[in-house]
Symmetry: C2
Subunit: 367 residues, 2 copies
Amino acid sequence: MKDIGAAEKYGLPLSMLRSRGNTSVVPLSWVKHILYLLDQRLLPHEETWFAYRSAEDVEQAIRDMVVRGAPAIGITAAFGMVLAAHGLKDKNKGLFVEEWMEKAAFMLQARPTAANLKWAVERLEKLARKHYKMSPCNLTSILEKEAISIWTEDVKANLSIGFYGQALLPETGGVLTHCNAGGLATGGYGTALGVIRSAVSRGKEINVIADETRPWLQGARLTSWELIKDGIAVTLVVDGAAGFLMQKGLIKSVVVGADRIAANGDVANKIGTYAVAELARANNIPFYVAAPVSTIDPFIHSGDQIPIEERGPGEITTFAGKQIAATGVKVHNPVFDITPHHLVTAIITELGVLTAPYGPAIYACFS
Amino acid sequence: MKDIGAAEKYGLPLSMLRSRGNTSVVPLSWVKHILYLLDQRLLPHEETWFAYRSAEDVEQAIRDMVVRGAPAIGITAAFGMVLAAHGLKDKNKGLFVEEWMEKAAFMLQARPTAANLKWAVERLEKLARKHYKMSPCNLTSILEKEAISIWTEDVKANLSIGFYGQALLPETGGVLTHCNAGGLATGGYGTALGVIRSAVSRGKEINVIADETRPWLQGARLTSWELIKDGIAVTLVVDGAAGFLMQKGLIKSVVVGADRIAANGDVANKIGTYAVAELARANNIPFYVAAPVSTIDPFIHSGDQIPIEERGPGEITTFAGKQIAATGVKVHNPVFDITPHHLVTAIITELGVLTAPYGPAIYACFS
C-alpha cells in the first residue's frame, strides 16, 4: 500500500472520458494486477495514490473510506475480488472457488448501505459459480475482465445519466447538490455531478451550490475540488443554509446521488439528503436523484428495510485529531438517511428518467 | 483585556440563580467597573475570562463573537455603554452626552441581526436623554444601575420562560435544539435551554438532541458543554441528521431561541433553524421558540425586513487554522435564517405562551 504518487496511473475509463472531452477525475486505477486508489480522506490537500494487492486490504480501504460513493465502492470491491482470485491461483479448483467465496462474503461486510457493493460482488460470484470447472488461472482472467466491464459500464452509465439528466436542469441558475456524487464517487464522470457536467458542457449556466456535508465534508473537500478542477462554478454553504437559499430563490433544482434505491423509489443517501428533499418540496423546487440501475435494490420493498450505517463518534467530536465537542458528550452518527419516494421528482438512470409511480418504473428496468 | 482566569468573578445573577438551586453558567460578570467575558470561542477546551474597560473593546468582542446569543449581546452592549460613560465622566455635561451618543451609534453596528443589541442600547439612550441635565458622574451611575437591571431582568425572564415552557415539553423523550440558547447566550439560565432546565428540574426525563450547528459549532461546543455541566442528558448529531431522527420518532418536540422576532411572529435564528422547523412540520412535531419580549422587534412587520448577517468565508473553509475546503471555492455564509410564523407552534415569553395569530398576541405584549 505505498503511495505511487502520480496521476498517470489512471486506468482505462479516463481515456474513454478524455476522448469525449471530459476531464473528470477518476478515483481508482487498475494496472498489472494492482489496484490503485486515490485516498479521498486526504483530499483536497493531498492527491495521494495507494497501491493494493489483496482483497483484505481493499476491504479495509472501503471500510476506512479511502474510497467512498456507492458506484466507486462497487467497482473497488470487484477489483478486490480479482486480487483475491489472483492470490488463490495456485490452489486447486475446488479450494480456489471455496476460499474465494469466503473472501467474497467478507468483502460484502465492508459497508452496509451501498447497494453497488453487493451488486458487484454478486455479479462476480455468479460468474465464478458458472465457470467453477475452469482452471483458477482462466477463471481469474474472466473475473478481471468482468471487473473491468463493471467499471467501464459504470462510466458509460454516468455519461448516459448525464445525457438524460441535463435536460431537466434550468438554462441558468443555482443547482444544489449534497455530498459528492461525482467522478470520485463512481467509475468517473459522476451521477449527480455527471448531470451537472453534461448540462454545463451543453452551455447551461449552472452555479452549483454545494452543501459542505457534515460530518465527512464531502461537499467542501470533494465536490468543490472536482468542480473547480473542471472550471464549473461552485459555491460552498453549510448544510443548514440550503433552506435559506431556497427561500431566497437562489436554488432552481436539486440533484443528488444515491447509495441504495428501494423497489418503491425510496432513496438512501448521505445523511441530510432527506432534509434537502423536504425543503425542496416546501419551496416547490424539483428534487432529482441520479443513479445507475446498479444502485437500485429490487429485492428491498421500501426504505425502512435499508440498513443505515452508524459510524463512530470521532467523526463528529474531533477534527484532524483535535477535539471539537464537549468532553463526554454522547453522539449519534447515522451516515445515511431515507428520502421517501413521494419527495422525489424523478430518478435519472442510464435507461432514462423514471417518474412516479416508481414501483412499475423500477420493475420495468429489470424486465 | 487580560485573562482573569477565575470563575469566581461571576457577578450578581449567578447568586440569584444559585439561590434557586440552578447551576447554569453565566457568560459575563461586572465587578468594580470592569466587564468580564467568558471567551466562547475557546469553549469547551478553555474557560478563559477577559477583562474589558472600554466600549470599543466591548464592541470588538461582540463583533468577534467572544460573546454571542441575542440576550447576552444586549446585556454586554449595555455594560459596554456604561464603560463608555465611565470613560467620559470628566467631560462637561453637553460633551458627555454627545460623545456618549456617538459611542452608542458605534455599538449598534457590532452585529446586525440580534434585536436585543438595539433594544438594550436604546433603553440606555432613552435614560441618557431623560437625564441629560445630570452630572456625568450621576448619569454614569444611573446607566450602570440600568445595565444591571437589564441583566437581572433577563435572568428573571428566563426563569419565567422556563416555567411557562416546561409544561409544553413531553414527560419523557428527545427534545431537539439548534445552536445555543442557553446560559451562555443570555444573562444566565437560557431561553430554550431554560425551558429544558425547568422541565428536568420538575422531573421530566428529557434527552436533549443537540444539532452541532455549523459553522460555529455552538451545539457541539456550547450547548453540550453547559448541559453536561448541569447533568442533563445530551446527544450530539450533525445538523443533517435532525430529519432522520424525527422520521425515526426520536424527537418529540423542538425548542430553539431567537435573535429577532418580527411583529407577525416570523423568527430570525441561527442558520439551519428554518430547516428544523420545516422538518418538524413534516413530521408532526411541535416547534417552539423561547425568547424574552426584548427579542421581539415590534417595528418590523415581517421576517423579510430582518437584516441577515453574512460572515466571512473562513468560518466554513478553515477549522482551527487548517484549511478544510478546496482552494479557491466561493462561499456563501449567511449566519441566520427566517422561520415563517406558520411553522411556529408557540412562542414562549416571560409573559406567557403566545400562539397564532401572532400579530395580536405580540401587540398585546407591548400594550
